[in-house]
Subunit: 222 residues, 2 copies
């Protein structure tokens, strides 16, 4: 059995199991058994479980950020002033993500779960890893979004960006559960593409919402 085969089988299986059960809840024994690979092979090829988790995400995020950068390049050169709208940006990101998941919604769901964990889970190794590897693309996205929403104050934009991120991450992370509920309650089976189609106008409208401005708007909690 060639190396690439064992390594790939471990990564493929780990990806699926991590997405199904989470990281802590997925043991190396579960992965190696399902992958038909020796238990010690994970530590042989990756060094540790942590390193395996990072390798799983690197395999996904590496190509994805590259595609994202390429798509941004293309879109910006398509318009005369290089200025994209919020809608342009959202569709662009969605397309790259969907393309990168290559028909496997489980993959998409797992990646979003990572984003959630990385943000949420205090000072874990995952967050550090993500920040080190992918800040460049992240900040480019932030910058372009800023140019697309000149009417927002920077601090407002900051929060709204993360509100959007929250909707996306939460929805994708719990996609399977929500799909099941939707099917039970409404008899409709929404694919991940359907859900993204619904999500995009929600996000675009939210990010464009009138600024709070005066307290007369009636939003005050007091």
């Amino acid at each position: 059995m060639a190396q690439s085969d064992t390594v790939t089988r471990i990564l493929d299986t780990a990806e699926v199991l991590f997405a199904e059960k989470g990281f802590a809840e997925t043991s190396l024994r579960a992965i190696t058994t399902k992958a038909n690979v020796n238990l010690a092979a994970v530590n042989y090829h990756f060094g540790s479980k942590k390193a395996l988790i990072q390798a799983v995400f690197a395999r996904f995020l590496g190509p994805m950020t590259q595609n994202l950068e390429a798509a941004l390049d293309r879109s910006q050169s398509d318009v005369s002033n290089g200025q994209l709208t919020v809608e342009d940006i959202l569709i662009l990101v969605a397309r790259v993500m969907v393309a990168e998941s290559k028909g496997s919604p489980a993959r998409l769901s797992m990646m979003m779960r990572l984003a959630g964990l990385a943000y949420t889970q205090g000072q874990g190794h995952l967050r550090k890893f993500l920040q080190n590897q992918y800040t460049q693309t992240f900040y480019r996205l932030m910058k372009i979004t800023a140019e697309a929403t000149p009417e927002l104050k920077p601090i407002e934009r900051f929060w709204r960006f993360h509100f959007m991120l929250g909707s996306l991450v939460f929805t994708m992370a719990s996609l399977e559960s929500l799909q099941a509920i939707a099917e039970h309650d409404f008899g409709v089976r929404n694919s991940e593409l359907d859900v993204i189609d619904q999500l995009l106008p929600f996000l675009a409208s939210g990010v464009r919402a009138g600024s709070l401005g005066s307290p007369s708007k009636g939003w005050s909690l007091d």
Copy 2:
């Protein structure tokens, strides 16, 4: 030491540690050590770790759903036809949540983080528990939201409801990190109330966004 004292100390400590590290990553030994309580006390008082997790939720959600129901009663009797707007509903929920956190914003953030974990973390006992215990209030909220958004198709409303939930849960769960970033990047210290003030218009606008309707809207991913 009276029973209530030991039980309360376990619940208080578990709440903090669960929110900080997640459920699987927090051991009973960590909880009982920090709470200055015997290891066996958790199993004595609660029966199991699962039951402890549920008790932590119940202590927060029990009173909160009661207050939510009461607030809904009050608001609905205030207006002639009992019909609230989306903005009314959002402010109402926000107020109850803020009130329930009783001046401890950390607690609010903690409960939202726990809720996020519960939703996201696989097929666990937690979601089943939450659904069994709090469906009534949940469905009342859904129903009122439905009446406030008659222009939406049920399935659209379902997804947008969870998009909102995602923004809320994610933002509150990562509140501390985001506050730190905001302070570093923009020199502004936003309280949790400030953040909620920013969140509400975002959500209201998102949930009212034009429905996808025709593909001519340009949202299609194909």
